[in-house]
């Protein structure tokens, strides 16, 4: 826990330096012509405050003044979190490629059948009904086209039917 606290503080310090580096592309000082700060001032000085506070958290932790103990991650649940995160990343990565209507049911199948250990009936019905609901809700009613990727040609007859 202590280690994680330090790592997050260090990450935030690095993040604020990165923000500051981006912000100096615009004037960060006082603009004498218009009055008031330049365009980069807000992000720059806010990131500077963030840097100082994150440094404060880090220093406090290094001096042993924080009252954290125990593990940051529960070893048993960590594998769950990591596998759900990986599944999410793979699903989103696959969406523009194989299309929403393949990627999302595959994700649900993995989540319900393999991760959740549910039966075939529940898994199958949810994997079938969810894409149908999404299609009618987002595409037909709201006219928001979800990414289709390779599956685009299969939807042309459906477009012709519903639009």
């Amino acid at each position: 826990m202590l280690m994680a606290d330090r790592m997050i503080a260090a990450f935030l310090m690095a993040l604020s330096l990165y923000f500051m580096w981006h912000a100096i592309a615009l004037p960060i000082g006082w603009n004498g012509m218009t009055g008031g700060p330049g365009g980069g001032a807000f992000p720059f000085w806010l990131s500077a405050i963030m840097f100082v506070c994150a440094a404060g958290v880090l220093v406090r932790s290094l001096r042993g003044k924080s009252n954290y103990s125990g593990n940051f991650f529960d070893p048993e649940t960590l594998s769950w979190i990591v596998s759900v995160t990986i599944a999410l990343v793979l699903t989103i990565g696959a969406m523009p490629w194989v299309g929403t209507y393949i990627a999302l049911p595959l994700f649900m199948f993995w989540y319900l059948k393999i991760f959740g250990k549910h039966g075939w009936v529940l898994t199958g019905s949810l994997c079938l009904c969810t894409p149908v609901f999404l299609f009618f809700f987002f595409e037909v009613t709201l006219k928001i086209l979800l990414p289709k990727g390779l599956t685009e040609p299969f939807f042309i007859p459906l477009y012709a039917r519903f639009f």
Binding site: A4, P37, G39, M50, I144, L146
Partner: protein, 508 residues
């Protein structure tokens, strides 16, 4: 009298068949969302917001408010039946709600919670109606300097009253404000903070992306971790005799309830406080004022009623500054504010002048939502008992899919979906390390207003920084902010003499 005629006009809007249907739909959805352990009003609003494009903007806001309302009622259901608060706002309800359920009085506890919520909701909606127009009138006098000072005040309440680690709170406020500057500079129009030259950042980071990330994906990850073992659901049966008995019992508690409602309403207005502390304070106070304080925590009806009135009153209270001043009183109202801005209904005093139909329609819909919530709540109790048995993985998979599609829908860019996952994972890790999330979301929503009002003031005053303290109202706000900001500092100094690295000025 003018007030009554406005309200009557409002009812003409909110009682239209579409809006009435929307209110009932909203409170039912809210009740379910609130009853699910882990999901509360803020999660519900974040996940449902992208789907509300299906109805006109004014109805969408009514729907979201109804969800907010319903979730406040629903939180009590899992507090009582599972012993796990359905939302953080219902933590105090578990103290006496769970013992009541274990004594076989789950049905009575649910009735008392619903009726007490109704009382809290009703008193606070009346207060809301009375305060809304006068407060909006006062706010009409606000210029950019006052707006800036007010936003500053909202943030310093987190530092002074938030109760979280001060350094971490300031970090989250600054992070949210810095993220809100991504995109184009408000005044010169130059691009800034375009990370990795990704074109997606030119349009900025939407509050919805952050909210779905943190309150959708992040919350699910957090819940996966915390709900290792399935909790047992206490069966609850409701009879008309119970109902009658419950109403009679609540009737005896009118003093606690009116006090809890008043306090909840005013505590709810503060951005840093909100429904959770309001409910805890109300619980504590009713225990203090009770003649038998030793029965609290062992299944006292009053211990269920007092936090439930306060959290409902607080949710209405947090809507007041959002609608009249444009400053949200809670993370959920911050999302409502973001949604309203997205639909072109900018909250603030001008809304009362330009869109009176919408404003009074919304206010009157709070009355109908309150009625609908108590009726739906009592009628559907068996359904909630059944729904709470639903395996958690089913809920998780559906919520994650809705987060992905809901994140894509508003902007139709995969860039936003990636950001959602990023915010979700980082938000989950930071939350585990005790970084508060509410200031981050509020800062991202209020960031553009804060920067705009700050720079507008300085431009119109030719760079005179003293402009902020030369105007009486803004000076007052800044003085109160300074007090809030110094509060934790004073506590620190008092507690120990150790030197601590605290920045000398509030976030500008």
């Amino acid at each position: 009298m003018e007030l009554l005629s406005h309200l009557a006009d409002g009812f003409a809007t909110s009682l239209s068949p579409l809006n009435l249907f929307i209110v009932i739909l909203g409170v039912t959805a809210g009740l379910f969302i609130g009853a699910m352990p882990g999901l509360g009003s803020v999660n519900g609003v974040a996940i449902v917001l992208p789907m509300t494009f299906i109805v006109p903007p004014s109805s969408a806001i009514i729907l979201l408010c109804a969800i907010y309302y319903g979730a406040m009622y629903g939180g009590a259901i899992s507090s009582i039946l599972l012993g796990i608060p359905g939302a953080s706002t219902a933590v105090a309800t578990t103290f006496d709600g769970r013992p009541m359920a274990q004594q076989g009085k789950a049905g009575l506890a649910l009735i008392v919670a619903a009726v007490a919520s109704f009382v809290g909701g009703t008193i606070s909606v009346v207060l809301f109606t009375l305060f809304a127009a006068p407060l909006a009138d006062v706010a009409l006098a606000f210029g950019p300097a006052e707006e800036f000072a007010l936003v500053l005040l909202a943030f310093t309440t987190f530092v002074g009253l938030g109760g979280d680690d001060v350094l971490k709170t300031i970090i989250m406020i600054c992070l949210g404000l810095a993220l809100s500057t991504v995109g184009l500079d408000l005044i010169s129009g130059q691009p800034r903070l375009i990370f990795f030259d990704q074109p997606g950042f030119y349009s900025g980071i939407s509050f919805l992306v952050l909210a779905i990330g943190i309150y959708g994906i992040g919350e699910i990850l957090y819940t996966i971790e915390t709900s290792k073992s399935a909790p047992s659901v206490t069966p609850a049966r409701i009879t008309f005799r119970d109902l009658w008995f419950g109403i009679k019992e609540v009737n005896k508690l009118w003093k606690t309830l009116s006090f809890g409602s008043l306090m909840g309403f005013f505590v709810g207005m503060l951005p840093a406080a909100g429904a959770t502390p309001a409910a805890l304070m109300s619980y504590g106070l009713s225990k203090l004022m009770s003649k038998q304080p030793e029965t609290f925590g062992k299944g006292n009806i009053e211990g269920v009623a007092s936090p439930e009135t306060a959290n409902n009153a607080a949710s209405t209270g947090s809507l007041l500054p959002m609608l009249t001043l444009g400053i949200p009183g809670s993370p959920t109202t911050a999302l409502l504010l973001g949604g309203m801005v997205m639909w072109g209904l900018v909250p603030g005093p001008m809304l009362f002048i330009e869109q009176p139909d919408f404003v009074w329609g919304l206010i009157s819909s709070l009355y109908t939502a309150n009625f609908a919530a108590v009726l739906v709540n009592l009628a559907l109790i068996p359904l909630f008992v059944w729904a709470l048995r639903m395996p958690f993985t089913v809920l998780c998979s559906l919520v994650l899919v809705l987060c992905i599609v809901g994140g894509f829908a508003p902007s139709q860019k995969m860039h936003d979906v990636w950001l959602i996952v990023g915010f979700g994972v980082v938000g989950y890790l930071m939350r585990k390390a005790d970084y508060p999330m509410a200031p981050l979301v509020l800062a991202l929503v209020l960031g553009p207003l804060m920067e705009k009002s700050f720079r507008q003031t300085l431009i119109s005053e030719q760079g005179n920084v003293l402009a902020f303290i030369e105007r009486p109202l803004s000076a007052t706000f800044i003085a109160i902010s300074a007090v809030f900001f110094l509060l934790p500092l004073l506590k620190y100094v008092k507690k120990s003499k150790r030197a601590q690295d605290v920045p000398g000025e509030p976030a500008k």
